[in-house]
Symmetry: C2
Subunit: 761 residues, 2 copies
């Protein structure tokens, strides 16, 4: 298969992105790192961050080795996986981890420099922080595209058929999503344990301000921002980004197989999403360069500069989508696919905007939460939960319209495969400019850390004011980023649902089936080549419909898993925070002169406690995400798997939006009171909103974001284990129904392989 010339945009952009990231990195590195004290503090944070990453990667590494062995058994022993899949899995995880490492390396280096920059001007601070964020954005995009391009090119060189290539590559998404879940979970638990520990003992009990160097948990708190918000967020979006491109490529394959077109078009269907992503990467670089303001910029100027960058690159990617689809896809579909991409893009921006409405204290929802503080903490909690629940309406309706739009524009009502390809393109369009949106997301925590550094180094108060201004700008732009994260998770997960069927097809082929009988009703059978089974036929074959109890049960279990998972993460934060609280109390009690600033607090021990706590606590929730689809799949078959994925997706997205927005609204209600509203800092209302904020922390920084990844991880696990389930589920079904195979064939979804395979002519 000849790769079209235009495809080279993808690897080329990847390389350019990485080169730019390298340049940005050195640009930041050359900046003044501040005085000795600032460097010392930054050094502690850096050290703590790397200590955490080392521990994290050790744990994840063990898991990957274990999974690698299992996958090899499945590939060589059971012959249910292509032998390259275990390696694809490894590279997916490796590059995601590498991106996290580089991003964190940059972020920790940038904090003291940003603080120093802010002592010069707001603009200088923004520049440093945003360039550092840009490193993260571009590294994620660049490494993902390099990984995808390399696999695609090499498999092509070795003459793998295209349909094999897409399924092999798809499963490196599992590596990325496993890494992402561990990063988000571990990071989320770490950052909240440190945060709660620092706040509860330091601020509340000992009465010292935030980021005070006397607080033993202060460093851990700053480390937490890096491991949670930088590395965790990066791994999350790395996974969505790679997942959306790979799923769309697989769906392109599926769509092509249902159209009567010259074979030469096939590769275009598969490579088009890569090309669009490649152009997006390039546009992201331009977007990052667009962020420039005059020397005496106000926060309003900054907001304008940042918005210009996001909207500018969004407009450019829309134009690019037009030309990519026009030049790569058949005339009949190109305009539709263009519209699908734009639909996704617009949805991402709109979701971000609704997030802003429900969580920013410029709007009434958050203000009302603060007002409820006059009745005490209970009403603050109730109002916050109600706001979070209500805030699910707008994003879900936007997602629904985007799905309907992307599906129908691309012609899904004529050919479902094209519709799903369109949904995939919606996700790719939304994530194409990830380089710049992730830069936006990352600079907030960098600014936050810079503020911590300024505080602990006793820099003049005006520096802290400027880092706080940067932080608050970062929070606003982060809302857009969250919109993209949620929207893309939903669309990518849908595309993965469809891509799952491609893996089922591949599993059937691996098992040696070339032709299969599909039983529509007792009297209606159709014989179909496995390579030609359409999505509609798959639905009939495995009865993935609502009246199949296995599907229906799957829906329930999927919905339930997201709640149980959230519960486990919330409790994990609680336990880890409890240990931190004890340690901080112990240090205050046992280290002489600590409160007078003479005794040196043992920062390292706090870092260690958060690290160990996060590592211990993340295992069980992660395992639930991995084991549920496998066990349910074996018991309930393909229909059951699709049921749990759909249940987890629909409930999970809604629950995640609720938790994110409740948490965000509580946080900002507290900040609003701290601006002096409703009695201001120290009042009873303030205390009530602090309770809300504490409840909201694990909602918005641990459970909420992790659900997004859980959904995608479950899809990825299903994809990798598709062969196992296709091969072994029916027999178990026989055990529990006690019905002969022959009857099962006649009346249920399962396909009896021995009976229905028609020998090759």
């Amino acid at each position: 298969m000849t790769i079209p010339m235009i495809w080279w945009i993808a690897p080329l952009s990847a390389v350019i992105s990485l080169v730019c990231a390298w340049l940005f990195f050195h640009q930041v590195k050359r900046k003044n790192p501040g005085n000795a004290r600032m460097q010392e503090i930054a050094g502690y944070v850096r050290e703590g961050s790397f200590a955490y990453l080392k521990q994290q990667y050790k744990g994840v590494g063990i898991f990957f080795v274990f999974a690698f062995i299992i996958f090899n058994i499945m590939a060589w022993g059971l012959k249910l996986l292509d032998p390259l899949i275990p390696f694809a899995f490894l590279t997916g995880g490796f590059f995601s981890g590498l991106a996290g490492f580089i991003g964190m390396n940059t972020a920790t280096m940038a904090s003291s420099r940003t603080a120093q920059g802010c002592s010069k001007s707001l603009n200088e601070g923004l520049n440093i922080a945003f360039r550092a964020g840009g490193v993260m954005g571009l590294v994620v995009v660049g490494l993902a595209l390099i990984d995808i391009s390399a696999w695609f090119y090499i498999l092509n060189v070795f003459h793998y058929p295209l349909e094999k290539i897409v399924v092999i590559m798809l499963s490196f998404g599992m590596g990325a999503s496993t890494q992402a879940l561990f990063a988000r979970l571990g990071g989320g638990i770490y950052t909240k344990a440190a945060d709660v520990g620092a706040d509860l003992v330091g601020k509340v009990e000992a009465g010292i301000p935030e980021d005070d160097p006397r607080n033993p948990a202060a460093i851990a708190d700053n480390v937490g921002d890096n491991v949670g918000d930088v590395a965790g967020m990066g791994a999350d979006l790395y996974e969505s980004y790679a997942g959306s491109i790979l799923a769309t490529a697989a769906l392109g394959m599926a769509a092509f197989s249902q159209i009567n077109l010259d074979a030469s078009w096939e590769i275009n269907f598969v490579t088009a999403p890569m090309v669009l992503a490649g152009i997006g990467a390039f546009l992201s670089i331009i977007g990052i360069f667009l962020v420039k303001t005059k020397e005496n910029a106000t926060t309003k100027d900054l907001m304008f500069a940042l918005n210009k960058s996001v909207y500018g690159s969004s407009v450019l990617i829309a134009i690019a989508a037009y030309f990519v689809s026009k030049s790569m896809l058949p005339a009949e579909y190109s305009f539709g696919i263009f519209l699908s991409s734009v639909t996704g893009l617009i949805a991402g921006i709109l979701i971000g905007y609704t997030t802003e409405i429900y969580t920013s204290y410029s709007f009434s929802h958050t203000k009302k939460i603060a007002e409820q503080g006059s009745f005490g903490p209970a009403t603050v909690i109730l109002e916050g939960i109600a706001v979070g629940m209500r805030s699910t309406a707008a994003p879900i309706i936007i997602i629904a319209l985007a799905v309907l739009g992307a599906y129908s524009f691309s012609g899904g009502f004529k050919l479902p495969e094209m519709g799903l390809y369109g949904i995939g393109f919606g996700a790719v369009g939304m994530l194409a400019t990830l380089g710049v949106t992730l830069a936006m997301d990352s600079f907030g925590p960098i600014a936050d850390n810079a503020g911590g550094n300024a505080e602990m180094s006793n820099l003049p108060k005006e520096v802290r004011v400027k880092t706080d201004a940067l932080d608050s700008v970062g929070n606003t732009t982060a809302a857009t980023g969250k919109g993209f994260a949620i929207g893309s998770a939903a669309l990518t997960a849908m595309a993965l649902l469809a891509a799952y069927l491609e893996e089922v097809r591949n599993a059937l082929l691996l098992m040696g089936h070339k032709v299969i009988d599909i039983q529509y009703t007792a009297s209606l059978t159709e014989t179909v080549e496995v390579t030609k089974i359409s999505i509609t036929q798959f639905m009939a074959m495995y009865k993935v419909n609502l009246m199949n109890p296995r599907f229906l049960i799957g829906l329930f279990i999927g919905a339930m898993v997201t709640f149980v998972f959230s519960s486990l993460t919330i409790k994990a934060v609680g336990r880890a925070a409890g240990k931190m609280v004890e340690e901080v109390r112990r240090q205050f009690r046992e280290i002489p002169g600590i409160m007078e600033g003479k005794g040196k607090p043992d920062y390292k021990e706090c870092v260690r406690i958060s690290t160990v706590g996060a590592q211990q606590e993340m295992l069980i929730p992660a395992l639930i995400g991995i084991i549920t689809p496998i066990v349910t799949g074996i018991i309930l078959g393909v229909a059951g798997v699709m049921g749990i994925l759909a249940g987890a997706l629909s409930s999970g997205i809604v629950l995640a939006i609720m938790m994110n927005n409740s948490g965000g609204a509580w946080d900002n209600a507290k900040k609003y009171v701290e601006t002096g509203a409703n009695g201001g800092k120290g009042s009873d209302v303030h205390k009530a909103t602090v309770v809300g904020d504490t409840v909201g922390d694990p909602f918005k920084d641990t459970a909420g974001p992790c659900i997004n990844i859980l959904i995608k991880l479950m899809s990825m696990v299903s994809i990798v284990f598709a062969g196992l389930i296709v091969a072994y589920s029916p027999s178990i079904q026989k055990i529990y129904t006690g019905i002969d195979d022959a009857k099962i064939i006649e009346n249920t979804s399962s396909v009896n392989m021995q009976e229905t395979v028609i020998p090759e002519q």
Copy 2:
């Protein structure tokens, strides 16, 4: 069609139930109503309760008139409904309302008598309260069965064909569920507004004890127990009970149509669930009589007596199910259907048991919430939410196993229609002994009211101790009742999903279609008689599968609606409570001598405020439940409707379990602290758990229970509006896709009526 003799068990049991209810009522009435003060207090509560009911029924009446007119337009103008359906709708609502009225009449009469009884002995108190609860249980069961039997008999007399009868009767479920939603919502808002108002101002601000006669909201609080826990719960279960019987009858029809059996079996398939329910009603009476203890019974003895009653009638109904299915259904299916019924029954009991584990302070989960109180309210909230979320696992797995069991036992893997009939029987089996389980549920609030009466009448403390003991026994048995409510809601809603298809079939017939083309794939079409379309064929015809974006979007919207609905109910409680707080504060301020017990508080004004508040606030959430399936249906068609129903069902049940159990656990954590644990009453830990309890109140008494009804109401609305959606949805679909009808037929779910109807031969 000749009605089998055995069917007469249903109306006969209904009459016996009502007679027994009448006897119990007079038994209670004859008891000593206590001294003048006790009667005065009871009089206030009675008056307030009826004032509320009157207002409630006025509002609901207007709604019913409005709906009645719309349904008549749909029936006579658009010819999309059978003309009898509006009347069926009215009777469903009327009998549900009547049951609520009678139940409340009894409950309000019983409170002072129970208090008086408790001053004699615990056993006497139990007897009165339990008999009064029995009235509620038997009236609900009796009226539902009378309504069902009367319609069934009369339609038969007028020679309506059986397939018409089942669809007409099904739609009186909408009357019942509309009434139920208003009752639960209004009652839930009322009771929590009064409760919060009484607690926040009376207990916290003024420092007077609970149920103090000086508290102006004390009467409203007691009224609330009646309108929320007695009338609301009764309407809820009336609806589940009637819904499960009617849906199962419709599924019996559907199952029969797919089997080659002599036509004489048909009526047996339809009447079997009624017969089983009839026997269950009779057994409930026996169960109620089983509750007897010795004169000096301890609470342990009481628990034993009550459990004996529930488990005894459960064993008996299992035996009855065996004989009913053996004598009424073909030998091939009878044992399977028996097993399906028993599966449902066992599931109900097990779910109740898990509820107990997560919410009772005899177990560790609730104790841990209390322990978290030492870190303040935030950790109490987080722990409670985590417990609630985690508690969803066991009931969902039980429901999943019950569905799988009921489906496969009844032969669903051979014939899906039989499997769904089996699921329906699971629900009927679970609810057959509703008479006794509802009696258990109702006696708790009666005991609670008796306690209030004792307190306000200044009876000796030992009386209050006994009413509290009764109340606590009631809370424990109520857990079992909740298990049945949740389990039956899930199973009934599933049965309704399938029954919905029968209404779609009926709509097609009403529109004059006799034969229809089903397009499986582009090249595969089957022509089917409308009366013979199987469930599997319906799934293919309307593409109710996961890869249809309309279904997938429906899942999202359904999940979202349950969250938005919860948000609205929580906020409604907050607003209504806010008004009550102001009023109580005003009375304390303005009525001279009120705190010294000289000035008489204006109880009526508080009752009025709660009543008006509840009425105003219940409208929007109720409308959301009604409008969502209609609007989504018109835009997204049948697949979209089934999507939202499935989304609301799966997410909603999980969310409802979480809210119920979080709320219950917080409540009991507070009570646990009040027993002296973790610092006891008045400690900081206690204050923290009070915050939890306040947050939990609208969770467990308003939002949680209302979600159950919302799910069923949405199904019922879809059923009644099936004709509208089948007739008008495709054209709108054309508008938004812009695709010619011909192409839509070829590739999508919709059926072009003009083209595909083959004229009668």
